[in-house]
């Protein structure tokens, strides 16, 4: 059970995903187009809003672009590495074929989490970098080394939270079987993260900060990169991410114990 073995396993899983991805050729090629296309259209609401206003919730256009950059990056992670596997697990649970995963001599959570990747989504990472550059050119400054360091820490926290929420969602599939459209739910809620959380007010904002921590995923990393994130917030965010991860791991173990292999 060494780390090296799991790394090799990850390599195998990635190669398999690439082959599966190219299986339906038209889909695979369209994937690339859709990706570029999606980026362009993702800009539209932002452009329309900032056509009407200079500032929205104390965020200027350049600053909001940084948030959009993080959103684009995390969306790549979500759609490229998380959602495809989610769909696969829900399918396994419904058909009872999860047995085939459970009997393999490796951690089941690791296996289901790495079972499927969408190679095209790595385009998102490039686009995110492009958006960051654009944003900072507009703002007329460069982020400091400390800011980049803080932003990297926040990025790890953000990906951890996103992944943990995903494990929690999958765990619910053990109790309420046949929820094919869970992936849609996940993407739909996540879509609100493209806006700085200060744009929302009242209960919505509380929900997006604490219940579904969208703020932690895009607003805080953006603030970190802009150098306006308070160190205490950073510390709380990292602690929160670690706690979420621990909880999700515990819930996954509880849920898998309940699994009774329907059908088979």
């Amino acid at each position: 059970m060494s780390a090296l073995r799991y790394l090799r396993l990850l390599g195998v899983q990635l190669r398999a995903s690439l082959l599966v991805g190219m299986q339906y050729r038209a889909d695979f090629l369209l994937d690339g187009f859709v990706e570029v296309f999606w980026m362009a259209t993702a800009m539209v609401p932002l452009l329309v809003v900032y056509r009407a206003r200079e500032q929205v919730g104390h965020w200027t256009f350049g600053e909001a672009l940084v948030v959009l950059g993080w959103f684009t990056f995390l969306q790549g992670v979500l759609e490229g590495a998380i959602n495809p596997s989610l769909a696969a697990v829900v399918d396994h649970i419904r058909k009872g074929t999860l047995d085939l995963v459970l009997i393999k001599p490796a951690d089941a959570q690791f296996l289901v989490s790495t079972s499927r990747f969408q190679p095209w989504r790595s385009v998102n990472v490039m686009t995110a970098l492009f958006i960051f550059v654009w944003a900072f050119v507009r703002l007329g400054r460069t982020p400091s080394a400390v800011a980049i360091g803080a932003a990297t820490l926040m990025m790890v926290a953000a990906v951890t939270v996103l992944y943990s929420l995903w494990i929690l969602t999958v765990s619910s599939a053990f109790y309420v079987v046949r929820i094919d459209n869970l992936t849609h739910l996940f993407s739909a809620i996540f879509d609100a993260a493209r806006w700085p959380v200060d744009v929302f007010r009242g209960i919505v904002r509380v929900a997006f900060t604490f219940v579904i921590p969208l703020a932690l995923m895009t607003t805080y990393p953006a603030q970190a990169l802009l150098g306006t994130l308070r160190p205490t917030t950073l510390a709380f965010a990292i602690a929160g991410a670690a706690a979420t991860f621990a909880i999700s791991r515990a819930v996954w173990r509880l849920s898998i114990a309940r699994y009774t292999s329907a059908g088979g």
């Binding site: 050729r25 859709v34 009407a52 046949r178 459209n181 849609h184 609100a192 919505v204």
Partner: protein, 267 residues
């Protein structure tokens, strides 16, 4: 597959579809939760409009607009495509082809039968809207409400036909999930779902006017919130139903071409 047989079987198909919708309540709930985007946009746009209105939209106009959008999406949404794509890929479409009724009619019946559940879901939102806004937010003209009902039917039909056409595309490419994604992205941005279409710059508006998307969401919402006069509404309705007619032709054509290629591999 005579028309008489189809008509006779239709009530039964509707009953089956309704039972299906009731049986998978959890799925329905997840679907409703995943269409809460208008509420996020509502929060966003009201913040933007807090100090001064944007275009002709003040805070309460935005609230009315996006609550109406939520209701319209509930009433016109459709997931036939995912069913078709799945059945074509797995070969289980063969079972539908064996039945003495055209598969498209049975899909349509399934989609239509989910309607009562959808109405139940959108009722609370309609009541909230009425409580928050009083009756200021919606039109008072009964003729416009008749037009609205007709535009809802048109929007539902266009959405269904798009599902059919993209579903038939999976006969040619084995899987057309990405094609649907591409359509959905355009739909979200250009239909008035995220942004009321009169907030777009004039040049983009000109393009949107020539596309079918705005007739899926924008038109019913605008009719509901009283944005159009009777004559303008009638003209837009005609355009909408022309798109529906084009959709029917395109569906018939792609189905005929596509089903010839169906090989029922898998199942």
């Amino acid at each position: 597959m005579s028309l008489r047989n189809t008509l006779r079987a239709f009530p039964t198909l509707l009953r089956i579809g309704f039972a299906d919708a009731v049986a998978y309540r959890a799925e329905m709930l997840v679907w409703v939760l995943s269409t809460t985007m208008p509420l996020v946009m509502l929060a966003l746009w009201t913040t933007v409009a807090r100090d001064a209105p944007v275009g002709r939209y003040g805070e309460s106009q935005f609230v009315a607009y996006f609550l109406a959008t939520f209701i319209v999406r509930q009433l016109t949404g459709c997931w036939v495509f995912w069913e078709m794509n799945f059945e074509v890929r797995n070969g289980t479409l063969a079972i539908r082809l064996l039945r003495p009724i055209h598969p498209l009619w049975s899909y349509a019946a399934g989609a239509l039968a989910a309607m009562p559940m959808r109405i139940i879901v959108s009722l609370p939102m309609a009541i909230i809207a009425l409580l928050v806004l009083g009756s200021r937010g919606v039109t008072h003209d009964p003729v416009l409400w008749v037009f609205w009902a007709s535009s809802i039917a048109g929007a539902w039909l266009i959405t269904l036909l798009v599902n059919f056409i993209v579903g038939c595309a999976s006969f040619f490419a084995d899987s057309s999930l990405r094609l649907m994604d591409a359509w959905l992205i355009l739909f979200f941005v250009l239909s008035g779902y995220l942004i009321p279409i009169d907030l777009f710059p004039r040049s983009v508006r000109a393009v949107i006017d020539w596309l079918p998307f705005r007739f899926q969401i924008g038109l019913p919402v605008e009719l509901m919130t009283g944005a159009h006069s009777r004559s303008a509404a009638l003209r837009l309705l005609l355009e909408q139903w022309s798109w529906a007619a084009i959709g029917i032709g395109a569906t018939a054509w792609t189905w005929r071409r596509g089903v010839e290629r169906f090989a029922a591999y898998g199942g």
